[in-house]
Amino acid sequence: MEFAELIKTPRVDNVVLHRPFYPAVEGTLCLTGHHLILSSRQDNTEELWLLHSNIDAIDKRFVGSLGTIIIKCKDFRIIQLDIPGMEECLNIASSIEALSTLDSVTLMYPFFYRPMFEVIEDGWHSFLPEQEFELYSSATSEWRLSYVNKEFAVCPSYPPIVIVPKSIDDEALRKVATFRHGGRFPVLSYYHKKNGMVIMRSGQPLTGTNGRRCKEDEKLINATLRAGKRGYIIDTRSLNVAQQARAKGGGFEQEAHYPQWRRIHKSIERYHILQDSLIKLVEACNDQTHNMDRWLSKLEASNWLTHVKEILTTACLAAQCIDREGASVLIHGAEGTDSTLQAASLAQIILEPRSRTVRGFEALIEREWLQAGHPFQQRCAQSAYCNSKQKWEAPVFLLFLDCVWQILRQFPCSFEFNEHFLIMLFEHAYASQFGTFLGNNESERCKLKLQQKTMSLWSWVNRPSELSKFANPLFEANNLVIWPSVAPQSLQLWEGIFLRWNRSSKYVDEAYEEMVNIIEYNRELQAKVNILRRQLAELETEDGLRESP
């Protein structure tokens, strides 16, 4: 195997591992093609198995012949390995560096991983677009499934099947695609059964400097409005940025050409601004200076919570248009693969009770992120510790999860899943044994034959033994729209992600356990009482029978 070339020293003895919350362990370090393994050989529980793809950056230091490698992971954990012998240390470090930055996707672990569990339900087929559409088709006949993108020729970042207005044929869709950035013509993202209003999403229109138009685009967008109704176009860029985009061939919908639509500009940051924000935030969280002023000003300077607030505000706006104004919404930014998806998917969390269940949320991730073409591979290639300035990384998905967490925190009984579910998704988006988050869109995933060659994350998650870890014990189905507060005082730092490795959560976890136990025990007692009541009733009727003759 070609990995062997990269591993000059496959094992070193007497390596000391330091990691958060555990005492230092001495053991044997082994490097394999995909893992870094430390085994103390005394007790299996002391083993470390770390995916190379989870490693974000490494530092090495030497004191005499004792080398130290500090490994910074994409999940923000920092571990330290003390390795005796300078040569061994250098070899290990260069191997880790090489193995954690492999270019080829097909060399990634998901292509080698063989599950040790029985697959009950193949996650690759758990959320098919046809099934999702069936949920709507009972309520409306105004929409249809289109296979126009079957070969990924019309829009490379869309899935083969999309939902579009029934009155628009595939020919028109092809024309609209040429008028939208990346071929991302407007498609249905969410149908609000209560009043028939919809959320659509797309790429920006390619109006350019000379104000190009596209009749089919105007027709498509208007076809989604009922007679006399108005709609809102939510542009996730500020007006200024949208205007500047015209110089590069992009732009926004001119009011004159879309008379029934009102355009609203919001400004959600993207790309390196978000990445810088994450880097600053994680740096602040790891700050050891014990100074309250410094911590608060670093937290402020990172701007992370400002981004959370902006995204939530935009999602609330979209949800408000739908539920309170009774107006349909089209959301787009520039490419329509980042902030657009944040706003559209969060609006659904607010509006749609189903998306707050485990299955519904998985379906949302599958439909609104994976199939909608969020470029996971580019965005999640590096995390907060990376020094090299690359263009494509951005914690867009993490910000989305953070926003979901904020809503979950404000409505602790309305979600079927708990915080750990969100943390798990974060981890797997950045490094995973499953193929779900590989590739940048459906087209790439097809070419990689992920369905045949890798295991889906959902196959693993949806087993009862795993699901029980992610269940929210306080869940009580809430069929209402939930309106989160976006006042700055209401938004908090997500400790479960950002302070996870700095602060022991032992006591908080214990409390959570205790709560779960109480609820479990209560359920048992209730069941017992019911049995006893039934027995009592039976005895009473028996008595009655005996006495009556």
Binding site: W295, P412, Q489, L491, A511, V529
Partner: protein, 538 residues
């Protein structure tokens, strides 16, 4: 009654807007000697709405046309709006509220008139006398005795009648030591830590003055403390002022213990904010919390600028230092600042919560508040005269007690199983400290309480709380006795704004409370089912 002179208009028609999430209430508004009442008209079935005038912190009136608006900002940080018919009525009511809410006389205050059903006067006042705590100490060690040297409050006006002092020191020596300490607050025991056999003491600053005066009896007293602990015991004096401030205090007659005069004792300085600076921090925090429309940057920089969380961190760190000295170093600790009635109590009471599992129970915590705050002479009346909305220039106001409650809340957040009481008890104590129908937080010291006959003429908050129907609101459903010390993390990342208090009236109701409410429901249901089980099975 003299109140009638202050009430200009008996009644008026008004509409009350109680808060952003609650429906408005219409009815007849009435000002009485101690309350503002709103009784809804016949079509409404809502109950009478009642506000203790004492809890009004500031009042603002506006008139337009033939009606007026009064905005009441309460000491518990609630903001209420009253729309009143009639300009004259509005102005009269506003003036009456203003006059009645700022009455200074203690014996005309509401607790002297409050006679709830089911409570008997005099009950619960003796729940927690000093003798009671001494019994516990005496079981653990015989190095200490209960002294009644302050029987008539002549030695130290801010101490209770009985205090716990080293057995080896007689009352005469205490009297001399008292003369050497500001306000007569000689070193007394506040906690004996049985596992390590060490003690926590508090006092005020020594009056060394510029000539570096000494007092042999004071030195003997501290020597006796070490001798009574264990052979070779060391001690730390935790001064809650900076070294600089302590030095400067000499100019005004105060000062700090000279190293040479107290062998075995080492002085540590941990400056804690007090007085006006603390009050301003509180005012600025509440101001920042009241504005939901600001940007995230502005909010975070105001949160930083008000420095409240920095004060929380300093208080907790100093308490940890004191607790660590006792538990880990086996040392005795003496805490004092200048007067020994504010930051000193903050440190000694928090250190006990960290170390002593008993003080984390509901009764233990009430006992701690009674012993370490009320009887220890924290001047509640001066400190809590106004809350964060007052326009008056603060004189003696300072939210020291609130800072203590905030620190306790932080402990509870980090150790969710270890406190028997919940946020509800802390919120109740905050409210009652600032305005209450009970007499517990009245006056500035035991001496004043005796003069006003608070104990015989008012009801105690403790009996009020223990008779509360909503008992469970005070309790933590997840409590499990934790026999160990609880060491909080004082890193800034670990400390949080106490939303339940500072954002209580501004944020939407659905939040962690709903989750707690649900856990409570389940726990009570469980108790019910468990209770009914034996009868069902027999």
């Amino acid at each position: 009654m003299e109140f009638s002179e202050l009430i200009r208009t008996g009644r008026a028609q008004a509409e009350l807007l109680p808060g952003p999430e609650e429906p408005p209430l219409r009815g007849t508004l009435c000002v009485t000697g101690h309350h503002l009442l709103l009784s809804p008209g016949p079509p409404s079935t809502a109950d009478l709405w009642l506000l203790l005038l004492r809890s009004v912190d500031s009042i603002e009136k506006r008139v337009a046309g033939d009606s007026g608006t009064i905005t009441l900002r309460c000491k518990d940080l609630r903001v209420l709006q009253l729309d009143i018919e009639g300009v004259e009525a509005t102005l009269d009511i506003a003036r009456s509220i203003e006059a009645l809410s700022s009455l200074e006389s203690v014996i005309t205050s509401f607790p002297f008139f409050y006679r709830p059903k089911g409570l008997r006067l005099g009950d619960a006042w003796h729940f927690h006398p000093p003798e009671c705590y001494y019994k516990r100490v005496a079981r653990e060690t015989n190095a200490w005795r209960l002294s009644e040297v302050n029987q008539d409050f002549s030695l130290c006006p801010s101490y209770p009648r009985a205090v716990i002092v080293p057995r080896a020191v007689d009352d005469d020596a205490l009297a001399r030591s008292a003369r050497f300490r500001q306000g007569g607050r000689f070193p007394v025991l506040c906690y004996h830590h049985a596992p390590s056999g060490t003690v926590l003491l508090r006092s005020s600053q020594p009056l060394t003055g510029p000539q570096k005066r000494r007092c042999a009896e004071d030195e003997d007293l501290l020597r006796a403390v070490l001798a009574g602990a264990h052979p070779g015991a060391r001690g730390f004096i935790v001064d809650t002022r900076s070294a600089q401030a302590a030095k400067q205090a000499r100019m005004t007659g105060g000062g700090t213990e000279a190293k040479a005069a107290y062998p075995g004792w080492k002085r540590l300085h941990r400056p804690l904010e007090r007085g006006r600076a603390l009050q301003e921090s509180f005012v600025r925090l509440v101001e920042a919390c009241g504005d939901p429309e600001q940007s995230m940057d502005r909010w975070l920089s105001r949160l930083e600028g008000c420095r409240w969380l920095a004060h929380v961190k300093e208080a907790l760190s100093t308490a940890c230092l004191a607790a660590q000295g006792m538990e880990r170093e086996g040392a005795c600790i003496l805490v004092h600042g200048a007067e020994g009635r504010d930051s000193t109590l903050l440190v000694t009471s928090l250190a006990q919560l960290i170390l002593d599992p008993l003080s984390r129970t509901i009764t233990g915590f009430q006992e701690l508040v009674e012993r370490e705050w009320i009887q220890a002479g924290h001047p509640f009346q001066l400190r809590c005269a106004h809350s964060a909305f007052s326009h008056a220039r603060p004189k003696h106001e300072a939210p020291t007690f609130l800072l203590f409650l905030d620190c306790v809340w932080q402990l509870g957040r980090q150790f969710p199983l270890s406190l028997e009481f919940g946020e509800g008890l802390l919120l109740a104590l905050f409210e009652h400290a600032y305005a209450s129908p009970f007499g517990t937080f009245l006056c500035n010291s035991e001496k004043e309480r005796c003069l006003c006959e608070v104990r015989t003429r008012t009801h105690s908050l403790w009996s009020g709380l223990n008779h509360l129907k909503e008992q469970r609101k005070l309790r933590n459903p997840l409590y499990v006795l934790n026999p160990l010390a609880i060491w909080p993390s004082v890193e800034p990342q670990s400390l949080r704004l106490w939303q339940g208090l500072f954002l209580r009236w501004t944020r939407p109701p659905e939040s962690s409370e709903v989750a707690w409410e649900k856990v409570w429901q389940i726990v009570t249901e469980r108790e019910k089912t468990e209770g009914s089980q034996p009868t069902a099975s027999t």
